[in-house]
């Protein structure tokens, strides 16, 4: 083309957004013919999922790399301004109470490593999924998850300077008993094939339960004066809405591809709902017991974010594909009045071996709990807390003098009750290759029996201690191996954090 008289400033035609996005993403892919598809994508066949047309994948966000960098840089600019301001003004002194930070300790030890794990394994999807569109969405999510891990590390870095329990989060995630709960969940997902990982994390975790897990956490942070955590949380959640979209698109795409996929996916939904729900027990305990100023009860959050939005909204949508609500969902519903109490009791019993502290709820807190849980709290849980208060009034503090029995699947101490009966512990046993395996619930037992070859491998912290693999035979040996430092563990009242807090707030009245 040669132009004698150049027309200056011709506005070129503009491609429609959708077409332009497609050219910039999926059109980059090509059909290889110097190597085979099987050589290039060796991991997409063995799970039994059938995909006929990878191009059926839609990405409503249509985020290109330049837009990604622009928006994300802006988000981080805002976030780090909050972090810097908070640190410079010694903002930690304006928290509701130092005991609030126990929730954040649990967060960096238990959740931040999951963000990191998600980062690594979405990179696996970005390598191994065959379709260019889901690969790109997975790549974006991989980078986002790295962001989440890092912004959390940076947010909490400031608290780490002044309070215990934050300092060795990474090592602790690999070693400490209660952290094997989240770790084993992600290990389970990552060791599965790419499609199961996609359904477990993108759908069951990110779409089904993320709201329940994160939004109340962040509102709690806001309510207790923790602006940095609220800021990183909401900032991360803005990425999360893209991830939720990936999860929803993933499930619809796979269900639309082939009818043979439906029962496989139903099985994964059944498994992963329960797996993720069980882990959310830690969040339930945090919401109801660890926030000095509670913002919303577990029960209320469960009803709002899970029953109303997911069971009421999402599942009727999935019914179209022949998908039914998760197999053990009624057990979860039946537990909503019990979960937080039973879980916090576990943490309270065992915080001598944890990198956070616990305390028995005081009367005012119990009044709130009985208001939130009129059917269960006074009848089943208050008497035990009263007993603890009596012991403490006499100068004692009762911990569990030993180690607990753990669930083979979720790895939480077996402290849950039968769905319909708070007075009876829920204990299930299965036998596989002449060995007994204990599980805490119908859901965990079902998961075990579905894939016993997988769960027999579990690194159960209690059993590992007894095998001599955790630093030595005594509690101090194990705590040293965990990386727990003086003042990290035990009872909050009288702890180093509480002493520092009192010293930094000399006129504030001390809670008994």
């Amino acid at each position: 083309m040669s132009i004698d008289k150049p027309e200056a400033r011709v506005r070129p035609k503009k491609l429609p957004l959708k077409q332009r996005y497609s050219l910039l993403t999926r059109d980059l892919d090509w059909e290889p013919n110097y190597v085979t598809r099987e050589q290039l994508y060796p991991h997409t066949s063995y799970e039994g999922i059938v995909v006929h047309d990878w191009d059926g994948w839609e990405d409503p966000f249509r985020l290109t790399v330049d837009a990604y960098h622009k928006y994300q840089a802006e988000k981080d600019k805002r976030l780090y301004a909050v972090l810097d301001g908070f640190a410079q003004s010694q903002g930690h002194l304006t928290l509701s109470d130092a005991s609030y930070l126990n929730a954040i300790k649990l967060f960096i030890q238990g959740v931040t490593p999951l963000e990191y794990a998600a980062h690594r394994h979405f990179a696996y999807l970005a390598r191994h999924l065959e379709g260019p569109a889901p690969r790109f969405a997975a790549l974006c999510q991989s980078v986002d998850e790295l962001r989440h891990a890092q912004t959390q590390i940076h947010t909490i870095s400031n608290y780490n300077k002044y309070y215990g329990g934050f300092h060795s989060w990474s090592k602790m995630h690999d070693r400490v008993w209660y952290l094997s709960v989240p770790k084993s969940l992600f290990d389970d997902a990552m060791t599965a094939g790419p499609f199961e990982f996609l359904i477990s994390i993108s759908f069951s975790f990110e779409y089904l339960l993320t709201n329940l897990l994160f939004v109340p956490f962040m509102s709690g942070a806001s309510f207790n004066g923790d602006m940095p955590t609220m800021s990183f949380g909401f900032s991360a959640q803005s990425d999360e809405s893209r991830h939720m979209t990936l999860g929803l698109e993933a499930i619809k795409f796979l269900l639309e591809q082939d009818e043979a996929n439906v029962p496989i996916i139903q099985g994964w939904i059944d498994k992963w709902f329960w797996r993720a729900y069980r882990m959310s027990a830690l969040v339930a305990a945090m919401m109801d017991y660890m926030l000095p100023k509670p913002v919303m009860s577990w029960r209320e959050a469960f009803e709002l974010y899970f029953e109303e939005q997911m069971l009421g909204g999402l599942f009727p949508d999935l019914e179209f594909y022949g998908i039914t609500p998760p197999k053990h969902v009624n057990d979860a519903i039946a537990e909503k009045d019990k979960l937080s109490h039973e879980t916090y009791k576990i943490l309270h019993n065992f915080s001598f071996a944890a990198a956070f502290t616990t305390q028995t709820p005081q009367q005012e807190h119990m009044a709130w709990l009985s208001e939130q849980y009129p059917d269960t709290f006074d009848r089943f849980y208050r008497p035990t807390w009263e007993k603890h208060l009596d012991i403490e009034a006499g100068g004692g503090r009762a911990f569990f003098q030993g180690l607990p029995q753990l669930c083979q699947v979720c790895q939480i101490p077996m402290g849950f009750s039968e769905p319909d009966d708070p007075a009876t512990p829920s204990l299930r046993t299965s036998t596989f290759r002449d060995e007994v395996f204990h599980t805490c619930s119908n859901g965990c037992q079902w998961i075990f029996e579905r894939e016993p070859e997988k769960y027999v491998q579990a690194w159960l912290p209690v059993h590992q201690i007894y095998q001599g693999n955790c630093g030595g035979p005594t509690v101090p040996d194990v705590l040293a191996w965990y990386g727990i430092q003086e003042g990290d563990n035990g009872e909050y009242k009288g702890s180093l954090d509480q002493q520092s807090w009192a010293e930094w707030h000399p006129t504030s009245t001390k809670e008994a």
Binding site: Y71, K75, A221, S238, S241, L248, V295, M310, G313, F320
Partner: protein
């Protein structure tokens, strides 16, 4: 369940900037319920929620790209059935 009027919802971070966005959503979705939680605003509606670029711009007093919605959103329940240069729609599909 056959109802097309199931609830959809969007959680938006509470901030000066987002106030105009929320006002725009209110204007375009008359049935909207708005709930304030610490740090965030939860909007819910039966059937669907529509966000129009033009309405947001009129409340914001400047140009606004629908992509910027990603800076505001915390979470949602529903499905992005439409997200183009002019409009975002959240609703259930089936």
């Amino acid at each position: 369940m056959s109802g097309t009027l199931r609830q959809v919802g969007i959680d938006i971070q509470e901030s000066e900037e987002n106030r105009a966005l929320i006002d725009a959503i209110k204007q375009d979705n008359p049935d909207l319920t708005v709930r304030h939680l610490p740090g965030l605003v939860k909007v819910q509606s039966s059937g669907q929620i529509v966000i129009n670029r033009e309405t947001v711009e009129s409340h914001l007093g400047r140009e606004w790209e629908t992509g910027e919605f990603q800076l505001a959103i915390v979470s949602y329940a529903g499905n992005f059935s439409e997200w183009d240069d002019d409009q975002i729609i959240v609703k259930w599909e089936h």
